[in-house]
């Protein structure tokens, strides 16, 4: 359904365009739940934004293909894109408060999103909105419809965002760190809700997060990004059990939950290279405990097993620990 091929994004800087992602490729099947993981600056959020056509056109350059049902979103005009965004591809972001307009009621905002794509009267839209609020588990939806964002808690606001994203019944929902700002118990409510909606409505999910625990619970497949590149693509359970890229393995091993109490935690030394100082060859090389001669050569994302690919020329030779050492 969605196929991203060789997607490279560059941002304008005083000295020309600085590449931030390179040749990102992955696909999402109808109804599939894909997790995109990686740390700050790895390019996962800009990848999500580029699919939605939300990067500023003047200050960014997007090359490659974003095929959605066979059509290249990257070649669409802003008008064409408006018919896709919200209708066929929904979105939710991390901070529900900044995504909602404080001076309009919840109902007006969700209704606006609906009426953008469906020619219905205000009264009809109201009915649809109340239904949508009820479906995301908001108590007293008819009353909430007429309330303002500040009257709701963080968890309720994120439910409102989900209702808004799903009211047009999109086929794909892009969720960028949707639970990061929430408390653990509320996060559990929201991930359960996303799981349930995705399975009952068949909505595919692109779940962007730094939290491997959330990915383990929500996603069937997991793409790991590092320094603007996809380094591993695998079914979630397999990637957690037996990661094939040293970065995925390093991320997993650094989780305190997987280490004995008070034990020294494994960590990944150094830091992500800056976009302007990207080394040739493997971008993880300088932090990688398995680096060897050959790693300075070009690394390709290569298939190693059915549904699994990894960008590491040493993958076949390495036995890497996963969630269970």
């Amino acid at each position: 359904m969605l196929e991203v091929r060789g997607l490279s994004i560059a941002f304008a800087s005083p000295t020309g365009f600085t590449p931030v992602t390179r040749e990102v490729s992955f696909s999402i099947a109808p109804g599939e739940r894909l997790g995109v993981v990686g740390e700050s600056g790895c390019g996962k959020s800009v990848t999500g934004l580029s699919i939605l056509g939300l990067l500023p056109r003047r200050h960014s350059r997007v090359t490659g293909e974003i095929l959605f049902d066979g059509e290249d979103l990257n070649r669409m005009s802003p008008d064409q894109m408006r018919a896709v965004r919200g209708r066929k591809i929904g979105m939710i972001f991390q901070e529900p408060m900044t995504a909602l307009d404080p001076v309009f009621t919840i109902g007006e905002q969700i209704g606006e999103a609906y009426r953008q794509h469906f020619p219905v009267s205000r009264a009809q839209a109201r009915e649809r909105v109340i239904e949508a609020l009820a479906r995301v588990g908001i108590p007293l939806p008819a009353r909430r419809h007429d309330e303002y964002p500040h009257q709701l808690s963080g968890g309720m606001r994120q439910r409102v965002m989900i209702a808004m994203a799903l009211i047009c019944e999109p086929r794909l929902l892009i969720a960028d760190e949707p639970t990061t700002a929430l408390d653990v118990t509320v996060q559990a409510q929201i991930t359960d809700l996303l799981l349930e909606l995705s399975s009952t409505q068949g909505t595919a999910l692109m779940f962007i997060t730094h939290d491997l625990g959330v990915v383990a619970e929500v996603c069937t497949r997991m793409v790991t990004m590092y320094a603007g590149e996809v380094v591993e693509d695998a079914p979630t359970d397999e990637a957690l059990l037996r990661p094939r890229h040293p970065y995925t393995s390093g991320l997993l091993r650094s989780l305190p939950r997987l280490a004995p109490r008070k034990a020294v935690l494994p960590s990944i030394p150094g830091r992500v290279p800056l976009p302007t100082e990207m080394p040739a060859g493997c971008r993880f090389r300088e932090r990688c405990p398995h680096a060897a001669p050959g790693c300075e050569g070009e690394q390709v994302l290569a298939g190693i097993a059915p549904q699994r690919s990894v960008r590491c020329s040493r993958a076949a030779a390495l036995e890497l620990p996963g969630a269970v050492a």
Binding site: D183, D237, L240, L251, P256, R257, S267, I268, A323
Partner: protein
């Protein structure tokens, strides 16, 4: 007053209420909390937003005045001290905050920032201060060439190390760590937690580790207190709480934590809590958790649960908890 067995902290019935714009209406951020922290111990405080955990931390380092209750630091009541005496005494009790960037002045060099606490304390020459700052920076793994740089030239993890160096210059006994790794990327969290553990061993530091992250608190703490709406609902040894939590809230909290294990290895049955934390302006009568508790009964609304020691050193505030 402070002997070898005197706890570093003795907190009794601590209450911190904030006034609101409406007359007579107060936010009961902390509403009756008691605990001791022993020397060399890591005392974890876990809770969600609005539980009062940050307010407790700030009160422990005299950044907030308690509304009621007493706090003894090494047997001494800091509230009874004069401003000058307090300045001298509080150097032993320091705090590191969540956002490493916000805690550093962007227009000051790293060295100046690290020297500042010593400057406020007085008593050392500039050269002595700088020497001690460089030593502290070295101790947290920041090479001396970074001393003349500005915060924006450092990564988040490095900045947090600088903040740790900053409190180390004062040679504290206790450090309150308020969400110290929450803003850091997963791969460097481990590094910073390892550093805290190392410093504790080397300097015999005592920590109060405040966090919302169960995996962090379970990893670093000797004992854990679980906060809910301004109260402790459970307190006990980390292992006991991890393996067999007694309070229904602790049970729900732990079951909600997403764990990065493949599906066939994830065993915990999730207890989904209805609704959200009630307002600390008008907390529920009786047990504060009863409005979201699946075991709640009439008694929970009418009577406040006692603080019971169900197992040695393991306390819980619930009428129905069984060991």
């Amino acid at each position: 007053m402070s002997g070898p067995t005197t706890p570093v902290l003795q907190v009794r019935d601590l209450k911190i209420h904030f006034a609101t714009r409406e007359q007579g209406v107060t936010v009961k951020a902390v509403d009756g909390v008691s605990f001791d922290v022993q020397a060399g111990e890591t005392f974890g405080v876990i809770g969600e937003s609005g539980s009062g955990k940050t307010t407790i931390g700030r009160a422990l380092v005299s950044l907030l005045k308690p509304t009621a209750g007493t706090m003894l630091h090494d047997g001494q009541n800091l509230a009874a001290l004069s401003a000058n005496q307090l300045r001298e005494a509080r150097r032993a009790y320091q705090i590191v905050f969540q956002d490493p960037s916000a805690a550093l002045n962007p227009r000051q060099t790293i060295l100046d920032s690290v020297c500042e606490p010593l400057e406020i304390q007085g008593g050392l020459s500039r050269i002595e201060r700088e020497a001690r700052a460089i030593e502290a920076l070295g101790r947290v793994g920041i090479a001396s060439e970074y001393a003349r740089r500005y915060p924006h030239m450092l990564s988040g993890g490095q900045k947090q190390r600088v903040n740790i160096a900053r409190v180390l210059t004062l040679r504290p006994r206790l450090i309150v760590c308020d969400e110290v790794v929450a803003a850091l990327d997963v791969s460097i969290r481990g590094d910073v937690l390892n550093l805290f553990a190392e410093l504790q061993r080397d300097f015999g530091l005592t920590y109060v580790f405040i966090t919302h992250d169960l995996s962090v608190v379970a990893h670093v703490s000797d004992r854990v207190a679980v906060t809910y709406l301004g109260r402790f609902v459970e307190l006990g040894p980390t292992e006991a709480i991890n393996e067999a939590p007694l309070h229904p809230y602790t049970q729900a909290l732990m079951s909600a934590e997403p764990v990065a294990l493949p599906s066939h290895l994830r065993t915990t049955q999730r207890i989904v809590l209805e609704g959200e934390i009630p307002s600390p302006i008008d907390p529920p009568s009786g047990c504060r958790f009863r409005t979201r508790c699946r075991h709640a009964q009439a008694e929970c609304a009418s009577r406040e649960p006692e603080w019971r020691e169900l197992r040695p050193g393991h306390f819980v505030a619930c009428h129905f908890a069984k060991s």
